[in-house]
Symmetry: C2
Subunit: 331 residues, 2 copies
């Protein structure tokens, strides 16, 4: 295993400490329960928006904590749901009179943690609601999932409900918006390589030198098939068809288009992939009003990418363009 780590069991906490040291004014860290939260949270004039999920997908979700985004993130270990008591602790810490919206990607562990934590929170008079994200069109059920998996589409849910929460919308309205976004966002990913969780010490899967995993999950779950590598444009074409054909997206739609790197793919290649996706949108008369090229939801150092499309209307376009702050400096 060739990584920048010290003791593998400290991987998550040392990453979190780095994030806190880099953002001393805006972020806080409750170390004993893995919670990163906004320095100004909880704010009693708004719903707190939080996410619980495994680590290893950074910037999701600890680096999406900020104004107009998440109020707090409570990650588990790498590729592991956060323990139920951490989620309860996060509920207590972020409790406001307007309640808490909890976002989870559709994995059984994350959902189970939420179910148990909600019960305990309700016993303490904390009101919480849930929005589940399941945007991955690759496969129906999967290794850790009943139904579809939640992947990079999560970003759009965070952005929309984060913006609406900032504007003072109430919990029911945020649930409506979150579900609406999840209803119009679709993704698919593929891998050129596996990745190695630090505590495991070996790759979760391996691919031959000319092999890809089409439809891979962000924890290395199998996709639709193994295949030989092909020219980038052909890969984009297949994935674009799968994603755009699922909703389906139709001629004249206004969309957001995301090319998301899975951790080990350089931004040069991501723009090369974006080129083909943007040209396909043009061919299909889909108007890209917002685009995203970079890393949003990764699988450690996996080389690969995913494509996400979201259909926008006036309400969602406004929310996507609302001001937001994240803890990652670009310049």
């Amino acid at each position: 295993m060739k990584k920048f780590i010290n003791d593998p069991t400290h991987f998550v906490s040392e990453m979190m400490e780095g994030l806190i040291l880099a953002n001393p004014d805006t972020l806080r860290w409750k170390k004993d329960s893995n919670i990163i939260y906004r320095a100004d949270a909880p704010r009693h004039d708004k719903v707190s928006v939080i996410q619980g999920s495994g680590s290893g997908h950074e910037p999701a979700h600890i680096m999406a904590v900020g104004k107009g985004m998440l109020d707090a993130a409570v990650p588990g270990n790498v590729f592991a749901a956060p323990p139920m008591d951490y989620i309860v602790e996060c509920f207590k810490l972020m409790n406001t009179p307007k309640g808490i919206l909890h976002l989870v990607n559709n994995y059984q562990g994350d959902r189970m943690g939420w179910d148990m934590a909600r019960e305990m929170a309700e016993a303490e008079g904390i009101r919480t609601e849930l929005v589940v994200i399941d945007d991955d069109v690759s496969v129906e059920n999967s290794t850790y999932t009943v139904g579809r998996r939640g992947v990079a589409g999560n970003f759009f849910v965070i952005k929309a409900v984060g913006a609406a929460a900032e504007q003072g919308e109430d919990l029911d309205e945020l649930v409506r918006i979150g579900k609406k976004v999840n209803g119009v966002v679709r993704s698919m990913g593929m891998a050129l390589t596996g990745c190695t969780p630090p505590a495991k010490g070996e790759p979760i899967f391996t691919l031959a030198d000319d092999e890809i995993e089409m439809g891979v999950g962000i924890h290395g779950e199998p996709g639709r098939r193994r295949d030989k590598i092909k020219p980038a444009d052909q890969l984009v074409e297949e994935m674009f068809e799968a994603v755009a054909g699922d909703l389906p997206f139709s001629k004249g739609d206004r969309i957001g288009l995301m090319i998301n790197g899975l951790g080990g793919t350089p931004i040069s290649e991501l723009y090369l992939l974006y080129r083909k996706a943007a040209l396909l949108c043009r061919d299909r008369d889909l108007t890209v009003v917002q685009n995203y090229v970079g890393e949003y939801c990764t699988a450690l150092e996996m080389a690969g990418y995913s494509i996400t499309l979201i259909r926008l209307d006036d309400e969602l376009e406004t929310l996507m363009k609302a001001p937001a702050e994240i803890p990652i400096r670009t310049f």
Copy 2:
């Protein structure tokens, strides 16, 4: 070679096309001479700031074209200096009454291209000046370099002269600022893996499963030595000593601290590295007033990182904090 590419000879142009498709309002592309430039450039009330260098280091430099940053970038092929006639073309395109500042990292090919291009530009009455960046403390001379190499410190030069140019400073003043920044910025990098230029089709160097290249260059040039991999904190310690000890940085200094990924290293590991670097700054009583964690100057998909320190005074801190825009959307 496992990459998202089509025809390897189209790698750079397809990446550039992707960048243009993602930024139709703010960027322009002169395809026949590989020039990406601001849609509002040249502006006759300011010096044009441009950079010529090889591709494969993205976001440097085509993704650093924007307000308060570069007016134009004219890259060559992967790891190859831009042809002299492309640079001349860029001078002509970006010419303003206030002149042109050209930035190059210290590689012989880039400097030679500049020398020849300047002569031709001067014959046409175009005034240009040069700032050379050579921030890499790893080795003295190197494969393509007499003197030290220029690496991620380049970002700070772009940021400072870009901000000053936006404020209307003249060419001589920008040269002074650029040289001042280069005088107080120091970097060092290391690799866990090599990387594969698309047209070459095989790695430029390989490392064993437990091996690192300490002091690697951004084109895979040899560093100080090959070594066994060590815990991240030990690697940071050695590199921090080399960088901080070079200027040297002293107790009480205000600094900017950058942890730069080389392309294949996930942001989780970069924050883990940042943690140790920030703690070392604290130990040495260096006050980090600006921090940068992410990818600024890469070597294709190389796994590795570099550390950069810059000593700030009031002038440079103000320039670092000036508004700027780059074409990479984060959210």
